[in-house]
Symmetry: C2
Subunit: 429 residues, 2 copies
């Protein structure tokens, strides 16, 4: 057994506490597997006096990052504070000094991955970030190593627990969006300001990270088309069931001859698709490779111990790399530069729900408008509603996004059409 590998935690919030609990609780096994004990020698916190709810030697705490940076014995800095500032400065400073960094910070990796990896490569330090996507589910290392011999063709993931909880609840209980959101907030699954989760931004950041690794080309948040779930109604969920679909907020990335598609939006998938039965706060990432075929990785996408599990595994790998004197063992894998396919050029099937006047010829005029833009319809359901109104639900065949949007613009102008109530992409068939 070698000398302990000393690490510092930056932050002692939810994930930090999880990491602390795991490293201290499973210390003996971790030492066996690494070949040396892993010792938390410093913890950076803002408030030295606050009760952390865990048994902790107060001498470990510091509110001065310089104490950590200047300590030559600290080989690994574990950033679990979140946010961009000051996390980014701290991490950059550590990497410049050759300290390896483990982080669970999706925002920082998604927005500043390029400079972070360049800095790590320059100093030879390691930079690991398994905890930044899908909590405890192993997905970064599987993509970087286990599936490395594949050309990844497609990723489809449920990578936001808040929205998956809400959609599961809406599907199971028929409640509407507002009610589902309130319950998610009451359970602590959604924040007071739920925008980042509900509008798909959280998923988009994670997708940018996953797609960059899968396709070996840097994809940034701006490249990702994003649409949230706030317009999903109980009615659409009921129709989805009728059509044998389930609605999920999916993060989708595909490599095509015209470039890489990256998009986050509510999606109908067949009820027998492996992702369809991923419910509540669980996450899952479906990966299709040219050799391996279809695979899926499932588990808890957030939480103190699940995310702590991913961070602790990275710490163990980083420690092993340091012991073997190969700290920057697997660096950035974005060795390629591939174009992004514009959203207008992507192809999907679409579910469309229209509120229309219930009179002869309406369906014909709608069908004509779709046909004019080369949108062909796979199925149509028409239901009478109140008074002289009707509801038409259509599912298209595969069509280019641009054509579909053009057709919807035409349909929206028809005097017999009150409104386009919903338009949801259909995938996974």
């Amino acid at each position: 057994m070698q000398e302990p590998v000393k690490i510092a935690l930056l932050g002692l919030g939810t994930v930090g506490r999880g990491v602390y609990r795991i490293l201290t609780g499973n210390a003996e096994n971790i030492a066996h597997k690494v070949g040396a004990p892993v010792e938390i020698s410093r913890i950076l916190v803002r408030d030295l006096t606050r009760d952390r709810g865990i048994p902790l030697d107060p001498a470990l705490l510091t509110d001065n990052y310089q104490d950590i940076l200047d300590d030559p014995e600290i080989a690994i800095v574990v950033e679990v504070m979140g946010g961009i500032h000051p996390a980014l400065d701290y991490v950059m400073a550590a990497l410049k000094r050759g300290k390896s960094v483990v982080t669970a910070n999706k925002d920082m990796i998604a927005l500043h991955g390029k400079e972070l990896f360049a800095t790590a490569a320059a100093s030879g330090a390691g930079l690991l970030f398994e905890g930044s996507v899908a909590g405890g589910i192993p997905i970064i290392r599987p993509l970087k190593q286990c599936l490395a011999a594949n050309r990844i063709q497609e990723i489809m993931g449920i990578i936001n627990g808040t929205t998956n909880y809400m959609l599961s609840k809406m599907t199971r209980e028929g409640v509407d969006f507002d009610r589902a959101l309130r319950e998610a907030q009451a359970k602590g699954y959604a924040e007071a300001d739920p925008t980042a989760d509900v509008e798909g931004l959280d998923a988009a950041r994670k997708l940018a990270i996953l797609a960059s690794i899968a396709f070996n080309s840097r994809i940034t948040l701006n490249d990702v088309y994003v649409e949230g779930i706030s317009k999903i109604t109980a009615r659409d969920i009921a129709y989805a069931r009728e059509l044998n679909y389930v609605i999920k907020l999916l993060a989708i990335a595909k490599e095509t001859p015209e470039g890489i598609e990256v998009r986050v939006h509510p999606t109908m998938i067949p009820q027998n698709h492996p992702l369809a039965s991923v419910n509540d706060v669980f996450n899952a990432i479906f990966v299709r490779g040219d050799a391996v075929g279809d695979t899926m990785f499932y588990g808890r996408g957030a939480g103190e111990l699940p995310t702590g599990s991913a961070v602790a595994a990275d710490i163990m790998d980083a420690a092993r790399h340091i012991l073997y004197k190969v700290p920057g063992f697997i660096g950035c894998t974005c060795y390629d530069e591939k174009p992004i396919k514009p959203m207008a050029m992507t192809e999907s099937k679409f579910y469309i729900r229209l509120m229309v006047a219930d009179r002869p010829g309406v369906l014909a005029s709608i069908a004509y408008a779709f046909g004019d833009k080369e949108v062909s319809l796979a199925s149509v359901i028409q239901k009478h509603t109140d008074g002289d109104r009707a509801e038409i639900v259509m599912v298209t065949h595969r069509v280019r996004e641009q054509n579909l949007q053009d057709a919807l613009r035409l349909v929206g102008c028809l005097s017999s059409v009150d409104r386009i109530a919903s338009c949801i992409r259909v995938e996974g068939e």
Copy 2:
């Protein structure tokens, strides 16, 4: 880019061809990721003249292993011939010379893992075997690295594609075992002699490997309790549906205070369990860790390209380790010696189907026998069948295997009981 890493394939059957196709087809990406090209410089075959169905430089082929062993430029030996002899001798010889070995040979690893890892450790060579369990699904590396900070509590896997195909077919179409087996054979999913698959031996070998890694203690094939699917009837499958269960051949390993449980047997699991919707030849491994909670890994458990994907990923890792001069990067992780819990001491719920005389007092005498052995019943269904016979289906509460077997012995002696038609463990609730 560094000089090529040279490798030799032992065998050019299904998996060997897959590895060849992947390494040549994705050569450029693989070189980028490894940091050097991976070059197949020799292939050992029995018959030099046979057509292999792939474009191949005949100069690569040899029927003399000594050519490979004596070539100092060959750094990695990839054993994809299968079986114990001569694979074991070849692999041992390579490891002794310090060549790293990648293998997909579950039999060899399950039966000779200990000596193989000791030999690799002595010479500092790498020994990787991701392809030996569950084909293309990443599971060895996730257990060894991604979930390394966890105490693994339980593994439940569908790790035999043949039996999963058969049970899926029996469940979906109501056909009986013989018909399902014939169709599996016609599709090439089952061998002419299907014993190893159908009787659970194939799954048991894989489970021995998985459990050894999960619990850091060597588990051999002899430790595994094995029961196959040949006694499963269409009738049991129909009852399973009525009770909201699905029947799967599960490989189960649990760590308990009394030791490690390792068993392969047909199992009823709730229809909403993540493993319940894993159908046809797909495999999946459900892993529960103390930190990460429930996770699952899903994909194709066999086949040229899926298994080739796992072997090629190991080759890439082994090559990277060699370039970094750390060939034996992650060695054997069986640093502990834990006792095996005798099957009689394990606990499950049980589904039991009895054929009995349809007359008053029969159920009472059966219930009395169960109660006498402290087996408590959760539900009972009694159905009249032909003539004066009836069928009783019971599900017990959790009970010790020993008590259940004792109770069944008593019940079997009752004059009103024709036979104990089925006894299937229930898990995952």
